[in-house]
Amino acid sequence: MTTGDKPHPEKMKLAIYWGAACGGCCVSVLDTHEGLLDITAAAEPVFWPIALDTKYRDVEAMPDQYIDLTLFNGAIRNSENKHMAELLRRKSKILVAYGSCAHMGGIPGLANFFSKLEVINRVYDESESTKNPEKVHPDTHFTVREGELDIPEFYNEVYPLNKIVEVDYFIPGCPPQSSRLLEVFNAIVSGVPLPPKGSVIGALDKTNCDDCKRKKSDKKLVKRFYRPWEIEDDHETCFLEQGIICMGPATRGGCGVRCVEGNGPCRGCYGPPPGSSDPGAKMMSAIATMIDSNDPDEIDAIVDDIVDPAGLFYRFSLPLSILGKKLL
């Protein structure tokens, strides 16, 4: 991974970029450890802001489709994110939405429950520790004594990458498992035929429940749902059978069921399983089959036990969901 060298002619050209992200996706690339050396042996990183010269001008100067593979992580939250998504789409042969935020909007996508102004007001006006009597808000273009200062425009909503540009593949996860990234990367480098455009790759074709080691009975029937702290998890029985909402049935496998092995219920970062486009719809149908009652009133009461269903079922996918933007 030398920097400043000219790209090696035979090597695949690789770009990694982030929009509205936490850095965890880039950490997942680094967490390939020795695998990172395999990646850089086969591919020349031509644009990777945490490792290489971050100058956008260099990307703009590249011919269209110059980059073989771009891994784009992070959601689209502001004008800079959008500009870079469009630029990298133009410059890339294969554009991959990498991680939950690029795939579905991710955690920052929960902001779609609110308007831009509600977010800004909370942060800059209402926060308990902020003193801002003149209600100063960040301004995309501001004149200081010495000159002009610019910052990107904060959008009214968060978008997953494929709402802004055409995406070739999706690698899910918050963050994606490093081993899965290596599998995908090796497949691309080895030249095996890739799945149809628009596919989810680097994940399993089954649900997280199929991959989970917790004990499951045939009958999943509950009389009520609990918040995780309301009961004592026995550390071995399926969370749903204990009445704790777990997103396993509505989530694609591939993460290694990490959270469940840490005794936490799944929250759906790998997105909906094959054959389903909406995790909320999938989860509602899973829950409907579990309710141990035929009495409509009792059914309502059982469903009411589920707090913040929208924020739970769409924890990582609100901008992609049928709910989309602030309808609740």
Partner: protein
Amino acid sequence: MTRITIDPVTRLEGHGKIEIFLNEEGEVENVYFQVPELRGFEKFCEGRPVEELPSIVTKICGVCPGCHHMASGKAVDAVFGVTPPPTARKIRELFYMAHFVHSHIAHFYALAAPDFIVGPMAEPSKRNILGVIEKVGLDIGKEVIKQRRIAQEIQAMIGGHQTHVIMNTPGGVRKGITPEQRDDIVKKAEGFIGFGKFSMQLFKEAVLGNPEYLDIILNGPYNLTLHSMGLVDENNHVNFYDGKVRVVDTTGKELCKYEAPDYSNYIEEHVEPWSYLKFPYLKKIGWKGFVDGNDSGVYQATPLSRLNAADGMATPIAQQEYTEMYRILKGKPVHSTLAMHWARLIELIYAAEHCYELAIDPDITGSELRATLSHIIGEGVGIVEAQRGTLTHHYQTDEKGMVKKVNLIVGTTNNHAAICMSIKKAAQGLIKKNTPVTQGTLNMIEMAFRAYDPCFSCATHSLPGQMKMILNVHDEKGQLLQSVRRD
């Protein structure tokens, strides 16, 4: 007015940008450090069940998720009005020591050491972690990678997820530690202590043994005279997980010492229209602008300020090093920005020693992992020390524990004003009339904010390389006068 733009400075969540304005004399008139990013966690956590927050707020930062998880876990405990049982509390703290070991190793070797071990004026191509390894030897390089990885392994073992940890639940933790895991951690912690001592020795030989570097630390254009903030235990010793927040003034006199729930009586935040990131300051003094000195409300929350704000370290080897640093730097508090690196190594030794203490504590393999929950109080503040400064999470909920309000003051934000001022001071000291701006100039300016280990650059931790920079000098018509590029 001539403008110098350093864009981007580094990467994380959009990008940070430095705008330097020169006056007609060719001297630095003013400097703006802009943070172009906002995601609004404060707003979109509203409406969520409070027990979900510890696993939502880790997504603020994928490099220091453990800090947010701990501050959040403590705020949630307070919302429920409970204190975790001893085993749960110690498991949390053990995790947290590994988080510090990992982060401080990465920062020292990947970011700081290139400047001191290789040298601030060395060839840019050598001034990176590979250059460090070249200088100190491959065996040591391998040891750095190994120790950092071991710290990550402990976090994955206890935390339930290698990145976005999920261990905290209201009043405790989801999973205990088995005796076999404990034995493994004890061995690993012994290794950390040895490695911490080794790193300190390396620093002393390479830096203190070199009059040029020592001069940069003591007399470089990096000294800001600001108040110091840090969490302390009941003996006024540095603590990362719990205690009271203590602030001492520029002379070392205690200005205030507060409990988490009282934070808003002591800290306020200022808004500037040219950055999305706010500027915290001490409320009792008020916002006086970007100025240093005892009358300024600006404070620092860094490894050095934690040491300044405390009376000592709670573990023996770290305490010896603490005493020695202040002896060599001739008094306390120390205001040299670059002494933050030294302080960080003292903290590395403390984190290693405390990791060991916790691992051999009989409580650590206990089975009581959660406090009994009864009713919801509805408000809680959790404060921990993140690697990059004091971290405050404040939650308000309804009677069912559904979140109504969230307020966050994160580690790096505390230092936002100080970072702006450090960069300005470095630029003023280094950019002179009619003198071309060189690669060395660029690096010396960069060193001013690298010392803070700012979170918007913390993703660079693990990579063999320093931040890549472009510095353009434009005249007032926008004509490019000079371009300096460092790959």
